[in-house]
Symmetry: C2
Subunit: 247 residues, 2 copies
């Protein structure tokens, strides 16, 4: 009988075309499915808690896979998959779970972090891991604008169309925390779910406010309208980290 | 009249063939010289405080260059060079100095850090930035062995031959500090100078001791002998960082 394996995965998104499987096969899902197939000799489908875009990182993405005729312990799966995966994708932990656990459907929420590097020079070790914004930004305004997003809203104005329409664009953000340590600002979002490009569009607006290129009222109006509205700016993918999935 | 510009440089050594200029031109020195040449229209020689090997990183390498007919301020040089250099090489600061400053000859000492990742899984963001040693090692023994290297010694037993002989293999290590934060161990060396591969050969011995594959007495005997002696093991380049050059 098939057993369900839960996977906790970290990845540096830089060299990959995002999470979701694509025909060129250079996605995180593809790499993990290929690793399973090499061990088991047959294709395995991996179900992620959610997609991340090209260039977006994960400290602890979650996924599951149903493994037929499996004889490996969860610890051995961690070792076997890491031996086959590129070093930019690491299996942190594997664990057998009951068949009613589902990486996406059982998720109660997700935590994302967006990192911004506020200094004239981006250190080489921060390259592809933060958005470099050399101009000074107003931390207080950014913090005040960030607070407006907390709560249940129709986030249509802060989502990109994915081709097929999302069923609903209403989501709840439980908290937005803004911290600054030296030149690094981190904005952490805890929510029940996030629409396509939602965090990058929110961060884009926050930084525009903090650079005095947009006012908080305009951001609030867009949020309240539930409309896509005028052209928007998405912060680059490289600053975004999926911190963890809550169950 | 030529003016001497002092350069403070950070680099991720992963994509480069070390500091020193080579015919294929993919070294850090080559990249910086090429950037100068693109601004000035003529070749400029860059003198580093010391070479770093392929894969070795720098948080603050130091170098100098003599710039004929220069009209740029030091701050503009920082910007201009960063605009032309790959993002893995960053000019942190440029400063005009008197002509008797010499990046290598004026150096009083150097600080290097070696990072070891002690956990079964190397996180993707530590890849190429630490030596992954999944087996548990004895921190106390490593610390005790490290102390033996402090002082003035003939380090011939902990140096690789560079082809042309070094004039002297006697060096002074002022301090070796070993710290551990979670799974990351950092060994920091402060010394008046280091021979080719000296730190990697020392770290290789320290870890062999801590893994109980070598005893401290053997390490001490090799140090005291001043001889190259039996085959040695150099820790990989990716864990090594030039922290700064002292003047």
């Amino acid at each position: 009988m098939a057993r369900r394996l839960k996977l906790i995965i970290a990845y540096d998104g830089t060299p990959f075309a995002g999470w979701q499987s694509q025909s060129h096969r250079n996605t995180i899902q593809d790499h993990i499915e290929r690793a399973f197939e090499r061990v088991l000799g047959k294709p395995v489908r991996v179900h992620g808690a959610g997609r991340t875009d090209a260039g977006v990182h994960a400290l602890a993405q979650c996924a599951h896979a149903d493994l037929p005729n499996d004889r490996l312990s969860a610890a051995r799966w961690t070792e076997a998959l890491n031996a086959l995966l590129p070093p930019a994708i690491r299996m942190l932990r594997c664990q057998y779970v009951s068949n009613d656990f589902h990486a996406r459907l059982s998720a109660k929420g997700k935590i994302y972090r967006y990192r911004i590097w506020l200094a004239p020079v981006l250190p080489p070790f921060e390259c592809h891991r933060a958005w470099h914004t050399p101009r000074p930004i107003d931390f207080k305004i950014l913090k005040r604008a960030a607070k407006r997003f907390v709560g249940t809203h129709n986030f249509a104005g802060f989502a990109a169309n994915r081709g097929k329409e999302e069923k609903s664009t209403i989501r709840t953000i439980y908290s937005v925390r803004v911290r600054q340590e030296g030149p690094c600002m981190a904005i952490e979002f805890d929510g029940d779910g996030f629409l396509y490009k939602m965090i990058r569009l929110i961060v884009g607006s926050l930084v525009k406010c903090a650079l005095d290129k947009m006012c908080i009222e305009d951001v609030a109006a867009r949020l309240d309208s539930g409309q896509v509205g005028p052209p928007r700016f998405a912060a680059p993918a490289e600053g975004l980290f999926l911190v963890r999935v809550r169950y």
